[in-house]
């Protein structure tokens, strides 16, 4: 599976893909995309890294990575951000927007160049969802890779 072409491509592209994924997650409230899309891009970067390496290296590297807790924490963070709305408003109410907190800058009305410091809970939710999705998709890819990686084309 690991040819020179894949290795070379990965060396150049992987970091770019990871950065692009993080960019999409962070700008989820401004541009098309968001937590799931960014997380999927990020996970595809990690998948590229997984595919480009040998079985043993992948196993050793990912042994210590807490993918499952990361997924739980992402989901819990999402739920917690949604629960913030219960303070006086309703579930999922965007309480941080326009409050002056981080990501709580004043949201301009109409066409604007896109200020990162807006969005309120949306930005937090994007980050948490991105965390969950990248952990989940990576563990799916990893499991399939480790399950089928050892065997040649039996199918």
């Amino acid at each position: 599976m690991t040819t020179t072409i894949i290795k070379t491509t990965t060396r150049i592209l992987a970091s770019l893909i990871l950065v692009f994924g993080a960019y999409i997650i962070l700008h989820g409230h401004l541009t098309p995309g968001g937590g799931f899309q960014g997380g999927a891009v990020f996970a595809s970067g990690l998948a590229l890294l997984i595919v480009a390496c040998e079985d043993e290296i992948v196993k050793k590297r990912f042994e210590k990575v807490p993918l499952s807790p990361l997924e739980s924490i992402g989901a819990l963070g999402f739920l917690g951000t949604a629960l913030l709305g219960l303070m006086g408003y309703t579930f999922f109410k965007n309480v941080i927007a326009n409050s002056g907190f981080i990501f709580g800058g004043k949201t301009p009305i109409g066409i604007n160049p896109g200020y990162l410091n807006t969005g309120g809970t949306l930005a937090y939710m994007n980050i948490f969802v991105g965390m969950k999705v990248l952990a989940g998709l990576t563990s799916i890819v990893l499991i399939f890779f480790l399950l089928l990686g050892g065997k040649k084309d039996e199918w």
Binding site: P32, F36, Q37, P113, L137, I143, W155
Partner: protein, 122 residues
């Protein structure tokens, strides 16, 4: 006018074709992986349908970041797009779970032939 109707409805014709193709794949292919692919085709048909519903001629994407001046007041309602995204997310989970089941079935049955994966019957 006749040609126009076809042009307007072209996405929906494709949706119908994809639906038929998906159901054909599920119903008449023997390989389990192909059956899973049939479900994926169905899903893309439904997603295409939703997206095609959301299209408005002359409409703009509902994003204010660096939008052109004309876009103000001409933005489409983002509901169909949101529906499609949600449906894609669910589709990822479904296909991952299906493939995991397929792998496990292959390990225990030694085959992916649907006509032989029927220990549960009667």
């Amino acid at each position: 006018m006749n040609g126009n109707i076809i042009a307007i409805n072209f996405p929906f014709i494709v949706v119908a074709l994809l639906l038929a193709l998906g159901f054909y794949t599920i119903g008449f292919k023997r390989n389990l992986i192909k059956v899973v692919i049939g479900v994926e085709i169905l899903e893309s048909a439904v997603n295409l349908f939703l997206i095609a519903l959301g299209y408005v001629k002359g409409g703009y994407a509902p994003i204010y970041t660096l939008a052109p001046k004309k876009a103000v007041g001409n933005m489409v309602l983002p509901t169909p797009q949101a529906l499609t995204l949600t449906s894609i997310v669910i589709g990822v989970a479904v296909s991952a779970l299906m493939l995991a089941f397929a792998v496990n079935i292959y390990r225990h049955y030694g085959t992916l032939d649907v006509t032989r994966i029927r220990r549960l019957r009667g």
